[in-house]
Amino acid sequence: MSLLEITGLTVHHGQLAAVVDLDLAVDDGETLAVIGANGAGKSTLLRTIAGVNRPSAGTIALGGVDITGWPAHRRVAEGVVLVPEGRRLFSSLTVEENLLTGAYRGRPGPWSVPRVMGLFGWMTERRRQRSTQLSGGEQQAVALGRALVANPRLLLLDEVSLGLAPVVVRKLYEVLPEIIAEGTTVLLVEQDVTQAMRVADRVQCLLEGRGVLAGRPADLAPEQVERAYFGLREPADGESVDGESVDGESVASEVRGSER
């Protein structure tokens, strides 16, 4: 059964439609990667699932319950937890306090502050430091830990690799199997397609807010993914993506993507 079921989801940023009539289902225990270029609507999709953005149409159901109208904080208590783009740690709180905020309305479960600290060796020693004193990779680890402490059923990871060195990104992704092994369903958004294809059970490609390609990483040819990613026209007549869309509208959404 699907843990998360999204039907006909449309989300607007002002006049711009960031996500358009999207259907998406994530099975219990599955890891789904949403890939797509800058401004494809990936972050907006995750923020809408987390309840931070409001959809203009469509429904979001968690375990068969319609949660479309629920505020973000109520979704956390039901196990939908977002690791937001840009980390968003609390700057006046220490590392340990940041992790503890995850337990505020989190569910009981296998994850606790000590276990998260065990997952990242350096954390115990530096738990009294302000989060602003950490490097980008360390901050991302704390943001991930903060979400884990809430014991999510559905973990939403938004651009974990953003602005980090490849070696740091690899280290962060090394902990993912342990998270998945606890039965956590993961929905992650990545610009790094290779990374996404490596960890995901299934991949969904977004182009200007629309789902253009979905499948298991093994079943997708690299050229196929590339075409869907950049919105290039099929060489022959196939599942065509409209070539026009690489012009004005796309530039507009590009600009919007970098603003956020």
Binding site: A72, F90, S91, T101, G102, Y104, R105
Partner: protein
Amino acid sequence: MNWVNAVLQGALLGGLYALFACGLSLMFGVMRIVNLAHGDFAVLAAFMAYSVITLTPLGPLGATAVVIPLFALIGYLTQRGLIQHALKVGPLSTLLVTFGLSIIIQNLLLEGYSADTRSLPAGSLVSASLQLTDDIAISYLALITFVLAIVVLAGLQQFLSRTALGRMLRATSDDREAASMVGGDPRHIYAVATAIAFSIVALAGLLFAMRSSFDPSIGPTRLLFAFEAVVIGGLGSLWGTLAGGLVLGLAQTLGAQVDPAFTLLAGHLIFLGVLAFRPQGLIAGREL
């Protein structure tokens, strides 16, 4: 010896200013709301206590026990029912709403209690004093006020740093949206902050009223002291607020020592000096 006495009295008065100002500091620190009705709520608490003491067999302590929880409730409801809606519109509208509240409270008090000046019948506590030397005596009320100020500020500090709710208050102050992503309902958390601020302002209002007389229109004058203490000490810092209260209290009593007409002027001059030369306040570290 008079100067030693002035310093002592000034410091004790500063404790009251700090207690009175910390509600303002808390609301600004957590929500970026400047509560212009802060002084009027303190006066409202004094009138409520006055009614409780005169109409029921409860004494000053009983009145305190009634008024403070009541103010926590009023604070929670005011935030959820009124200020929260204004916050959505923008920071300026919270100023307008609290300014409106200030006018409404003043006029309701005028309507209900008339313009007469009153004082809170607090019994022997007000007049009794501790004789330190032949020249210096400090009133028990001033001493109790000072100790209460320290206890409340320290307690608030502990609450903010040690409890889950206090942590969420600081987290919400840092990043409201991220706080909702970890499960904090910003409206509830804001309302809790306001409830705490209101119960402290009620306590300060009662102590003010035991110390000196009050009337329905004195709120804005009192608010000015709270503003000065907060700005002198540094916005958003609780210990800064204590320091600001002490500096203001000392400035006023030392000014009065030179010439009684300088009492308020000395405080205002220190305030202007801080604004001009150290606008971040004496203690700049932000805790909220």
